[in-house]
Symmetry: none
Subunit: 522 residues, 2 copies
Amino acid sequence: MAVVEIYDTTLRDGSQGEGISFSAEDKVKIALKLDKMGFHYVEGGWPGSNPKDMAFFQRIKNHRLSHARIAAFGSTRKPGIPVQEDGNIQCILAAGVSVAAIFGKSWDLHVTRALGTTLEENLAMIEESVGYLKSRGLMVIYDAEHFFDGFKANAEYALATLRAAVRGGADRLVLCDTNGGSLPEEITAIVGRVKEEIPVVLGIHCHNDGELAVANTLAAVRAGVTHVQGTINGYGERCGNANLCSVIPNLTLKYGHETIPRSSLARLTDLSRYVSELANLHPNPHQPFVGASAFAHKGGVHVSAILKDTRTYEHIDPALVGNQRRVLVSELSGLSNLFYKLKELNFNLDASREETRRFLEEIKELEHQGYMFEGAEGSFELLLRRAYDNYREPFKLESLRVIIELKENSPVYSEAIIKLTVGGQVVHTAAEGNGPVNALDNALRKALEVFYPDIRRMQLTDYKVRVLDEKDGTAAVVRVLIETGDGERSWGTVGVSTNIIEASWQALVDSIAYGLLKNNGR
Amino acid sequence: MAVVEIYDTTLRDGSQGEGISFSAEDKVKIALKLDKMGFHYVEGGWPGSNPKDMAFFQRIKNHRLSHARIAAFGSTRKPGIPVQEDGNIQCILAAGVSVAAIFGKSWDLHVTRALGTTLEENLAMIEESVGYLKSRGLMVIYDAEHFFDGFKANAEYALATLRAAVRGGADRLVLCDTNGGSLPEEITAIVGRVKEEIPVVLGIHCHNDGELAVANTLAAVRAGVTHVQGTINGYGERCGNANLCSVIPNLTLKYGHETIPRSSLARLTDLSRYVSELANLHPNPHQPFVGASAFAHKGGVHVSAILKDTRTYEHIDPALVGNQRRVLVSELSGLSNLFYKLKELNFNLDASREETRRFLEEIKELEHQGYMFEGAEGSFELLLRRAYDNYREPFKLESLRVIIELKENSPVYSEAIIKLTVGGQVVHTAAEGNGPVNALDNALRKALEVFYPDIRRMQLTDYKVRVLDEKDGTAAVVRVLIETGDGERSWGTVGVSTNIIEASWQALVDSIAYGLLKNNGR
């Protein structure tokens, strides 16, 4: 039973995964979520490597965090130059964070072959880089890249690199299985050796190339490591990093260690889906602990046993990680989530009332069609107010038409024509746009601005499309998620249709309706 | 270094995974493939549970297998009846196989709560069921369900169930972590205890609920087990079974055990994709060893190191498991990624030539606009061939128009009108669709099918949209990624525009052009 620090690198190592690309704004959202859940460190990016990461560090400064410390990533200085002249190290300082994570070489092969320098110079690079950042007042986490492979090739040299970091004043030494090919018993033995030799807090950073990243991380903790690095959903280069959505519940529930608070653990499933939504990746239904199928039971033997005693086919209570038992014959999922959300909005519904039952069925039916309200609080609240609150729509659609034309050697042309009823008046107007959704957006704003001047402050900030049943190709149902902001807050809305324009329209209408609702409420 | 028997249960436990359903013919195909690759056992199904499984056992008899033995699955007899009157046991005999795999209860909780019988009767059920099948000449593999949980709750009783199976004459005793929640060190300790007490060959059967199925399987082998059960790609109920695509290469390449022949190991990636194709599931690109991203390098630092020595960022040679190194062309990467990619496509470009410089600048400019070639190898290769290969486009767009109409109380209507030049002829046609992209897709296929009948086999399998500069709202640049398959291979293409229809059109055009290019190349 120890306190194990959780260090999330979804925003840096995770974003090196194929097909993953977060915007600076996505990164800020994820960092805030991780902070709220009590993660100890959030590695925001590599400020020296691209302008997007630097933008993240600028933006995150505008937020007050309550738990997490933001870390900036980088490497030890280049061979043969003074540390204060190294651009990459300067970028870490420019990021303006209190924690630096820098990686250096542990494996002699890498020093001589990849870096093309001497073993001695590498030790100096480590000691001076750590020392310089320490002298500038930062906490320094030293990532010993390829530590296990390096140790197997030349244990003495690998240990010497750690000692160099200790001399520089490193606060944490993180042993990395960079190529992800180590076996648990190797991790156990090598961490044990390091622990005997080195007096600094040790960390672990595993990759999943042998499908052993979680096991290797747990083995390291058993051997005395108290700082764990990984990513949400195991995103990361090649086969990914150690999956924190499995590492955290294993450490907390199976080993009894203290990681993130229990109340946050109960929102782990939400977190996993939130991050996959922002990454625009399908959640893996079979993902341990947090997957939609992780506690799904098929009919027959399993179900009847589960009804007698859930321990018969469940290794933990799914509620501990915010997941749910699903019995595949009945679609009872989602109710407790739903009630949780209703309470959040101060709707204390009586579950026994007829209208509540009807509302629940509507939600179930919409989710069955492909709506997802997790990333669309705006649409969800509108649905609720439409059902209960005598909510009046700010306008009503009569008809819309969108025309897109593309000709050789001329720019593409998009036009939207809409006819609405607003406050008893019919408005019939048209607008062009950069693309059909923009044309629609422009036409809608043009029609409504006279009636609702607040609309001018609302801006669409993200637009995501997800194909739901891929087997149907271009005829598949698509879900559109729109994020809108007014400079103060932001909200998500959703639309679903086989027609991307119709789905976009639904989300667009909700986006404006919700914005107006909140403005009136102030 | 031992011989470890590989027992595949993809067709039985794997098909209990949510969303997986094999036809009897699919099952035969997979069994033949596994046989050819030297798997020792193939569990074909549970003949007592459904007619499809019985059909498999009938059909597989028409084939001569060269390595694998086919096993039929079932349970011990029901409480309180003579074994020869148990319908489930009779079905195993009716399957006409030489190997029976029967599961029985090890956990006292299950015996009394789920089964509702006495601990003594359960022992009799095990011994008599095993004994009866042995007396009918079958090899009997006894699956001790919930063995680890049972052992933790009541070690003496769990061992007594194994002894009952031994008295019945069981040839293998397979210890099952049915709920998938055990930890590697528990597996090590409990297998060690069993090994001391029981003189029969031991097996292991793990589930992945703690993301530890592969580690637990390896731990069991280290503790003396020589029979390993699992599924291809880790398919299976809830979070799946131990993934044989990771277990086999770990046992063979890391531990030096004998499993399937080395020549078969080099076809493991093919096997994984073949099974996912028949299961109609997307292959997981990040799957260890066999995933498309498992040896994909994105970071510029990684790529330049890989070019010097592949060991720097690869834990094994990808060719050993039939996989390939891939270098992703992306914003994070430098020129070294691009040169690697060109070499892969047999374009040996001279970096000093003017056209190469121009090509590189074009790529850089396109990436700056928002193109992403790491998920769009089809578009990348077309770009290259357009620049160097005197590539001729299969058709040329004259004009296109898309109209979408939405009226109160009537379904949305989408129509695409296109005018193309194909082989000197002008084709002017139109089509409706479920949404504008589907309408475009339909119109394009309609126009081209006469000229290129191969198009009929191409199917769009995924469609992703990403807004690139979110601050511009609906006027932002969007990137469309399309994945297309023809049943044998699949390829990605990309389009970028402020207009989602135009971006989709670009990706659609490349998708068909690339498919035709590859078909002509055969």
